[in-house]
Amino acid sequence: MSTSLLDVENLATHFPVERGTFFKRRIGIVRAVDGVSFALRQGEVLGLAGESGCGKSTLGRTILQLIPPTSGSVVLEGRNLGRLRGRALRRARSDFQMIFQDPYASLDPRMTVFDALAEAVRAHKKLARSEVRLRVSKLMAQVGLLPRAAKKYPHEFSGGQRQRIAIARALAVEPKLIIADEPVSALDVSIQAQIINLLAELRRNLGLTLIFISHNLSVVKHISDRIAIMYLGKIVELGTPAQVLEKPLHPYTKALVSAVPHADPSRERTRRRMVLPGDPPSPINPPAGCRFHPRCPFCVEACKAQIPPLVDWGDSHFAACIRIPEIT
């Protein structure tokens, strides 16, 4: 197991729903992430896809210990991050960074680009002023920012440029793992490709290990080595883009893939959509058994009783559904 950089084992993040300030009564639990396991090799890009509210952002933040996990473990290079507290955790943070969804909110409006990057560069290393300057200008060149941008404030940039600044900040501490939480969904479509290409380029040049969270399958397909599909706090399917997007096994993934329009009109005309009834259930009281069963067209009695495990169906193509032999 030591070949992997990151091992996530049975990770769960539950939020208590409470009422009252002093005498708290627990009126429910949101199971945002509920038993997620996967491993990531050095240099691999994992795409994490799923609809809004399925827990993909919470999973990302829990791996990075921005939200404390309820149970399970996150092991990065043999170190269990969940055990770290206080100063030790702060020190460890140079190993893993996050790129946030909204570049308008993730940069301090009162810090120039130089100050923001210099702060990140200095966060874990004592460096002379000249070294800091050198590092910052290297970072800016790496993400394609012009040197004169250093003196400017975030509001003077477009969304795409801001996201470049945010990427540079994440790179500043030389992390081993970066989690990008919907890094392009707040950007114009024309800019999205630039940022994705930048991430792909950085990944090639620096050997980054990346978890790329998105609700957009086309975006995920472009950059990922493997794709994980999440539904209501659980991974339902995991495999290469070819496996997951061309030959999906799980009924939910099938519905998801069938919703993506084709650019080719002749293929688009023959596209068969698989429409799911209803909305995803609330994660406060998730359905018993398979969480997808109330919306699944292939649901049988057994689905309501047992939680299907994530099983390898050949060539490391995992899916969590008990009916796969019958429906494919």
Binding site: T21, F22, L64, L66, L89, R90, R91, A92, R93, S94, Q97, M98, F100, Q101, D102, A105, S106, L107, D108, P109, R110, M111, T112, F114, D115, A118, E119, A120, A123, H124, R129, S130, R133, L134, V136, S137, K138, M140, A141, L146, P147, R148, A150, K151, Y153, H155, A166, R169, V173
Partner: protein, 303 residues
């Protein structure tokens, strides 16, 4: 491609070298922006002049603030008494300068006390949150509920009538609103992604508070501080009127204005000149406060 990258590296290093000299960019940029704001600079200059006049000016004056000249009575401004004299024949110019000592120092010191306590208290309460926040805010509510006059009288009874106590008493009441304002600012900032990003970088809590939270909460803090100064000066006048503040023959602008208002029909200069001094300093403070608020907000820059 690699040579191009290297070239821009070098240019970048040079460019960044010009950027960073001393201190952080925010404070340096704020200083530059403030220097460009003519009203703010003028106001700051006027405040300095007023302060110097009040604290150094009396050394060069021939008249004493307490010597009465009942033969003179109240005379209008002339070459001898630049601002005239009051009903007891005391030189008004001297008395306005001496009054400025009290008013300006009470106004600025009590505001500084309120600012310090309020910002620290509000930041801690808002940042930690939860039960700590609930307890801290209930303490604020309780102090708010105490009648101010009773509170000051209690202080005077326990600690004696000291001038310093005036600052403490007024500051002790004024920080409450400041704490509430800062707390609400910090609470909304705490959920911002750039604070989460700072945590993800592994920065310490103190650094996050002082480098990210307080600079971003600065706007409302400065505005409220400039509003606090005049209300503090008026509170001082009120306390002096009750006999809890400065005592005759010492004076303050608030006291002078009150006395002037009593006789404004016969001797209007007794109201006009102290009123002018107070109005001038308050206007300057407001313009300076607005200038500071804009200076600390990079988005407000016009260029």
């Amino acid at each position: 491609m690699s040579s191009g990258a290297e070239l821009s590296d070098l240019v970048g290093a040079e460019d960044a070298a010009n950027t960073e000299e001393r201190g952080t960019s925010l404070w340096r940029d704020a200083w530059h922006r403030l220097a460009k704001n003519r009203m703010a600079v003028l106001s700051a200059a006027l405040l300095v002049v007023l302060t110097l006049a009040a604290f150094v000016g009396p050394l060069f004056l021939t008249h004493s603030y307490e010597t009465q000249n009942l033969h003179l009575g109240a005379v209008p401004p002339d070459a001898q008494h630049w601002l005239g004299t009051d009903t007891l024949g005391r030189d008004l110019f001297t008395r306005v300068l001496y009054g400025g000592r009290v008013s300006l120092s009470v106004g600025l010191c009590a505001t500084a006390v309120a600012l310090t306590i309020g910002v620290l208290y509000g930041t801690i309460s808002g940042f930690i949150g939860g039960k700590v926040d609930v307890v801290m805010m209930r303490v604020v509510d309780i102090i708010f509920a105490l009648p101010f006059t009773v509170f000051v009288i209690l202080l005077m009874v326990f600690f004696g009538r000291k001038f310093l106590l005036l600052f403490v008493a007024i500051g002790a009441v004024q920080w409450l609103t400041m704490a509430r304002i800062v707390r609400s600012q910090v609470m909304s900032l705490r959920r911002m992604e750039f604070i989460e990003a700072a945590q993800a970088l592994g920065l310490s809590r103190l650094r996050i508070i002082f480098r990210h939270m307080i600079p971003n909460a600065l706007g409302p803090i400065i505005v409220y501080a400039t509003l606090t100064v005049p209300s503090v000066m008026l509170l001082e006048a009120f306390l002096s009127f009750l006999g809890l503040g400065v005592q005759p023959p010492m004076s303050s602008w608030g006291v002078l204005i009150k006395e002037g208002a009593d006789s404004m029909e016969e001797f209007p200069w007794l109201l006009i000149f102290p009123g002018l001094a107070l109005a001038l300093s308050l206007f300057s403070l407001n313009f300076l406060g607005d200038g500071l608020r804009d200076a600390f907000d990079p988005r407000a820059a016009k260029d």
